[in-house]
Symmetry: C2
Subunit: 348 residues, 2 copies
């Protein structure tokens, strides 16, 4: 019985819905729109340059959960029921959000030299780094064209701003990598930028395009932001506590890359003086030996580094639930509540 | 006497103005706006993540000629004199155009593993490939934020479309690299996309924001497109015929990377059967030995590969001059005419 099993018991006794079931419920609720999103993405990835639809197809069909575009769709429908919205632009915006995410993944995998994503070989391994950089740029540009097609300047401001913040967060993450002195605040700044900004913008854009008032727009933006932080915290915990198959990526990736995620920040902070050289060697110097990952996990378990990461995720999830009290109660807000409640328990 | 000297005599006897003088004249004419563009760029590259302003500063202050943003500024002023335009948005758009170009350069240098640009070390050499990829993404995102701030949906369509076309052109270039069977049409498709599209969009965006009618908008877009193709053709000729110092980058870069630029397309097409294996070895197989670059240049000179590349550039330049007959005659259109007339003779 490892850390994973313990956490699983803790969360499952909460009575929270299972994460994958909550995702499936949201997918069923937005099924028709999501089909249109997929068609839009497919159409936008067409090109006489064969490599482009090939790589885009690999990336986009590789079993992603589509959480970000579903946030846009659900937010638009949630608000739209009251605001009599019956437009189609939320589909283009949801597609743009997924493409921004996809472009980011392509570049991330180059930067991290990743080999696996969602259980499949990464594009940089199949096609190469150069190809991933340039096709990522293409996908990102197409995302922008799609947003522009929705013809709403407020939405364009929100999504273009989010893109800058994401990129800034990626650079910040690279700058803090291997920095053993990184703090909780530095970690949270990275997470807010590289993950939560797009979750927030995705939900906000859906609300805006459907005609939300200021209160609804803010509530859905903050819901997205809090969900995004919770989601990333759990992701970072799973890199140490997850089971290889359940995660669909290689457990221990963050460790091998020397990423200063929250479990490491906590573990370093709580380590005894004689344990500090271990963390310095594996994180700061990047000299990782065969048994080091298991040792890291043991130290994290002893010092509650994983449990406290999950506890913090739970606080953000709670805040996201509170945000939903400001929007109409309907099947969409119920599905968004289930999503965030279950997100902390996923794969544990 | 090498190829360069011969070409120099050919072009200088045309009586065309010197290219750097024409650039300087355009810079003087747009000086006040260009200062505002530089300030806007500087402001948009601020970030608490130190690496961002550092890399952006290196890239942007590295002696670029600012031709693309000057096209936006000059087009806006050219049209604006008749259309009573006195807005400020052309400055933001010109800054966005330069940032799109800058982001492309950062990624290009990663993809090509370039060492020198404009006589200085490239960012990928100083900071690293990962850093260049991510900071390029940031600069690109900031360019979009700037465009959105100009609040003109037509301009946004033009510039977001251009970004997609550029990225598609970069992928196409990568796909044709080392392809000894590449044709003139394939080469021109790459040039139209990776270079001419941004020149065209830069001029078109300036015209649009200043209130040009359909005729003026089309004329300036086509002027930019034709100038862009001419400019790239000359650039590609210079990689074989230029003097190292004059070009500010290493002569022979394209050759070593196996790029199928027009001089190579012509040379391969005109090579005797017994010379084909030479081109296959150096371009398709990438096995380049010490004397190969000189041999390539000799074959190109014998078969007029450089001269015919320049002759084609001259045809595009002529078309660009013709485009200017559709716009008002003033100091701005005169400066744009000088720019394109001189562009073919630069550095020869």
């Amino acid at each position: 019985m490892g850390v994973a099993a313990t956490s699983s018991q803790t969360t499952k006794t909460d009575g929270a819905p299972d994460f994958l079931s909550a995702v499936a419920a949201l997918r069923a609720l937005t099924a028709r729109d999501l089909e249109a999103v997929n068609a839009e993405i497919l159409a936008r990835m067409q090109s006489p340059v064969d490599m482009i639809p090939e790589m885009a197809g690999h990336l986009i069909n590789a079993g992603g959960k589509r959480i970000r575009p579903m946030l846009t769709l659900a937010a638009a429908r949630l608000i739209g029921q009251d605001a009599d919205y019956d437009g189609r632009h939320h589909v283009a915006l949801a597609a743009a959000v997924e493409l921004i995410h996809g472009a980011t993944l392509l570049h991330d995998d180059v930067v991290d030299a990743s080999i696996l994503r969602r259980g499949a070989k990464t594009a940089n391994i199949i096609w190469g780094n150069k190809e991933s950089v340039l096709v990522g740029d293409f996908i990102f540009s197409r995302a922008f064209e799609l947003m522009v097609a929705a013809k709403d300047l407020r939405v364009l401001q929100v999504l273009s701003r989010a893109s800058s913040v994401i990129a800034e967060g990626e650079v910040l993450q690279l700058a803090t990598q291997k920095n053993i002195a990184a703090t909780v605040d530095m970690y949270l700044a990275v997470v807010e930028a590289k993950t939560a900004a797009l979750f927030a913008a995705a939900a906000q854009a859906g609300a805006l395009i459907a005609g939300a008032g200021a209160a609804g727009e803010t509530a859905l933006r903050e819901y997205g932001r809090n969900l995004g932080v919770a989601y990333q915290l759990v992701d970072d915990a799973l890199d140490y506590a997850g089971a290889e198959g359940a995660l669909g990526k290689s457990v221990g990736d963050d460790f091998r890359e020397g990423k200063m995620t929250l479990p490491v920040v906590y573990a370093v902070d709580r380590a005894a003086p004689e344990e500090k050289p271990f963390w310095r060697r594996v994180i700061a110097e990047g000299r990782v030996e065969a048994e080091d990952f298991d040792r890291a996990r043991e130290l994290m378990q002893r010092d509650n580094a994983i449990a406290d990461t999950i506890a913090l995720a739970r606080r953000y999830a709670k805040a996201a639930i509170d945000n939903l009290s400001e929007v109409p109660r309907n099947e969409y807000s119920a599905a968004l509540a289930d999503l965030v409640e279950s997100s902390v328990s996923r794969a544990f």
